[in-house]
Amino acid sequence: MNLSAKVSIPTQVMARTVGDETVILDLASGTYYGLDPVGARMWQLMSEGQPLTAVCDTLLDEYEVTREALEGDILRLTEELRAKGLVSLA
């Protein structure tokens, strides 16, 4: 996986924003996940169908972080979500 990837959200996955966090429900497995405010913002941008590199560009404007660290965080979160079946890669 690299930053040119886009993610899509499978039909069995629903997410809702509550406060500044996001709760993701996987209907297929009946399990629930929570994303903290930063993860929630990444999820929001990813779910708009932008490539991860565009997600990274947007977040660089919003958080005080180096590109290298942010790219690592985005790839880690995406891989974790993919492994749990909460996103698929396009």
Partner: protein
């Protein structure tokens, strides 16, 4: 409640076609309930006890006792298990929780089986603080307020809770064949609130590891996950219903009313627990009112 229920003659529980789309089991693996599709509706099977046929819209339920199973047993299953599921199929919000009326405010206790929901409600009700439900917490929005709707006026308790909390003169419903829990009917000994009450506070019950009553606020996302976990849902595969349910719960989490509550599981300590709860609720209510 908007469910038309009929108990019919006993019949053998016939073999079912196809695999259940969902099931409930006890922690030891014993099967408790099988959820099957039957035409457009549902068959809920409680092995060796009863079948319940639920219409596709959740408005009609027919109960069929297995041979030799008593009517009170089937009624008990209907009230505590099947009715909340049928209501969920109608799109209503039903959670695993008990509730009491503290100063006109609805206060709910949610938790897994065995966490003490009924015991806590009974502890209030035997001291004159009326209970609204002992499980099957039905919520409805009325004029912008989320209301707790009273359920059946009875509380189910294990024998030790009953002995510790309830006097011998309380009315006990006929015994049922699948549990040693007694169902105690509301009356002079156990105060029941027949009117809906606005939902003011929700406490999620902990495991009993605290040495004293401990109340902590939950973040909205934590509350949402807990609410989802404690939901009654008949058809977990009906995406439209699940989406609406998830949206309803998300709306509920906009209210700042969610707390964890833990306390030692000791009947002698219950007055202290009740006091902590009442003080918390009243303080919160005063803060909102002023």
């Amino acid at each position: 409640m908007n469910v038309h229920y009929t108990e019919l003659a006993e019949r053998p529980l016939a073999p079912v076609h196809g695999a259940p789309f969902h099931q409930w089991a006890f922690p030891d693996g014993t099967l408790w309930t099988q959820f099957l599709r039957q035409g457009a509706g549902y068959l809920l099977r409680f092995p060796d006890l009863a079948d319940f046929e639920v219409s596709a819209d959740g408005r009609t339920v027919q109960g069929f006792p297995a041979p030799g199973v008593t009517s009170p047993t089937v009624e008990h299953l209907y009230l505590n298990q099947v009715l909340p599921l049928a209501l969920s199929r109608q799109g209503k919000l039903v959670l695993h929780g008990s509730a009491v009326d503290i100063g006109g405010q609805g206060v709910a206790f949610l938790g897994e089986s065995g966490r003490g929901k009924s015991t806590l409600a009974a502890s209030f009700a035997t001291e004159g603080t009326r209970f609204l439900t002992d499980d099957g917490l039905l919520l409805e929005w009325v004029d912008g307020h989320c209301m707790i709707v009273p359920s059946h006026p009875s509380i189910r308790l294990w024998e030790d809770s009953q002995e510790a909390l309830v006097s011998d003169s309380a009315t006990v419903a006929p015994a049922v064949s699948f549990t040693t829990k007694s169902r105690l009917l509301a009356g002079p000994e156990i105060a029941f609130c027949q009117e809906a009450r606005p939902l003011q506070c929700v406490f999620f019950l902990g495991e009993g590891e605290s040495e004293a009553p401990t109340i902590e606020a939950l973040r909205p996302a934590q509350a949402l996950i807990e609410l989802v976990k404690h939901s009654f849902l008949l058809d977990i595969e009906a995406r439209d219903i699940l989406m609406r349910h998830f949206d309803d719960l998300t709306r509920l989490t906009e209210l700042p009313i969610y707390f964890s509550l833990d306390y030692p599981r000791d009947y002698r300590g219950l007055p202290t627990v009740r006091k902590a709860i009442v003080e918390h609720v009243m303080k919160k209510y005063v803060n909102i009112a002023t």
